[in-house]
Symmetry: C2
Subunit: 283 residues, 2 copies
């Protein structure tokens, strides 16, 4: 095995990609703006070599580049350095929204022989940075690839293989639009629910009375406001739709309770129990 990969951005996700790919035999290279991060990654054996500078000499060596950057940083980076990327290279991202990224990247790269394939690793932690990265973060998780009409089919295969090497269980293909609708519900809405649970009540000392369910629902209330606000606004329309959908259903359930509709309420719980069975990890 002699695969090489350049990872641009060594946060929680970039760092976890690096650890996992290194353990799978890749030679792993990285670019980070932080000298401390690069030094840490080299000292810990997370990467083989890294740089804080973006140079053509370095970037142009790679057939495969993964961008672990905030959405707007990714677009800026490509606008500035696209000419450094090797002819024929395959590149991917880890961004949590797709419609506002994929078509823009396609436009930026339109005159280049570089194949971009959008992808989204559906795993994360409520903590950030390379020091919290984990080699096994993706085991049993879902990986979504979001090609568009112009995407090179061979490049899709390269990113599928990357997903397998990273340890994902399900690798799915969705359009950017389908992805964003799905993710507004499955990920963005859940983060807003967690935030709302923490901010709706000003009572103090709730932690002395809570059980595990509230802890579970608010684990992600520990949230990186810069990254998530960027993701929320980039997917604003779809997110608002999904919030409304959820509030409508919670109101439906409230009305069942208000009007003593015991059997209808139990039906909701039975449906919920039945559906939830399919969501356990590793099944």
């Amino acid at each position: 095995m002699n695969k090489e990969v350049l990872i641009v951005g060594l946060g929680l996700i970039g760092g976890s990609y690096a650890k996992r790919l290194k353990s799978k035999g890749y030679k792993v290279y990285a670019i980070s703006r932080s000298k401390e991060t690069i030094e840490y990654a080299i000292n810990e054996g997370i990467i083989d070599y890294g740089d804080t500078n973006v140079s053509k000499e370095f970037v142009s060596r790679f057939d495969l580049i993964v961008f672990g950057l905030y959405p707007h940083v990714l677009l800026d980076w490509l606008n500035e350095y696209k000419d450094y990327i090797k002819d024929g290279a395959v590149i991917t991202d880890v961004t949590g929204v797709k419609k506002e990224i994929v078509y823009k990247v396609d436009e930026i790269l339109k005159d280049k022989n570089v194949s971009f394939v959008g992808s989204h690793p559906m795993a994360g932690r409520e903590v950030y940075g390379i020091k919290n990265s984990k080699e096994d973060l993706f085991i049993g998780s879902n990986f979504i690839i979001t090609p568009i009409e112009s995407t090179n089919p061979r490049a899709i295969d390269v990113i599928k293989e990357l997903g397998l090497d990273l340890g994902f269980k399900n690798i799915s293909i969705l359009s950017p639009e389908e992805h964003d609708s799905m993710i507004a519900y499955l990920s963005q809405l859940t983060h807003l629910i967690a935030v709302a649970l923490m901010t709706a009540q000003d009572k103090t000392h709730l932690e002395k009375y809570t059980g595990d369910s509230f802890r579970d629902l608010t684990r992600i209330a520990n949230i990186n406001e810069d990254m998530w606000s960027e993701l929320f606004f980039l997917n604003k329309e779809e997110l608002i739709k999904q919030i409304d959908l959820f509030i409508d259903e919670l109101n439906n359930i409230k009305e069942l309770i208000k009007n003593d509709k015991i059997e209808e309420l139990k039906d909701k719980m039975r449906l919920s129990t039945e559906r939830r069975k399919h969501f356990n990890k590793g099944e």
Copy 2:
């Protein structure tokens, strides 16, 4: 150590109480309607002795009785068998609502020299029955005791000591009304959110695209519809208030997104992150 306890009802909570108290040196006795449960509990060494019958001879031996029953079953049991309980005994429950229980039990026992102290162990699992019970279920968790004016202070101390023996970290005293308001928010609302997340969307195969956050928020969507509908209806008014409070806040957050109020949205996330720090277990 020579403590003895009778546990009436050997479900998830009763079974976990039994396991833990046995390991702390108690002699543990139990009553369950299910012969299979009693046999299992004896064979597994979870209890010292158990019976499927409720007899005066057996029940009247105990200075301490814990009821691990559904709310309406608890009230029925006490109405039927209150005369079997030993003079001077201290009894407690594990019920998830208090206002609709504590005053009724007080009324049932008004002519008896039996001290009831309501309590609520804030721990659980999304699975049920003695086979899922765990000795360490309560370690690091919260225990709420809900005395009323007529409650015997010595009996409160007995139940506090029981809470310590069970391994709880925080033992708090709340009025039944405070308890029900708190629990409507911290536990009942969270279960309804989990159910609504599973039932709002009819899209199939969501499990192929989900990440850990949706799994976290819906773990408890696997729900016992009989027990929880009983708890919801017993706390209906308070629950409806707390659902409305939460929906209002989620709508506030939606409006921030809709109107591009980036800084206000970030403020919510910063507040949420700050508050969530206090909720980790064992801190």
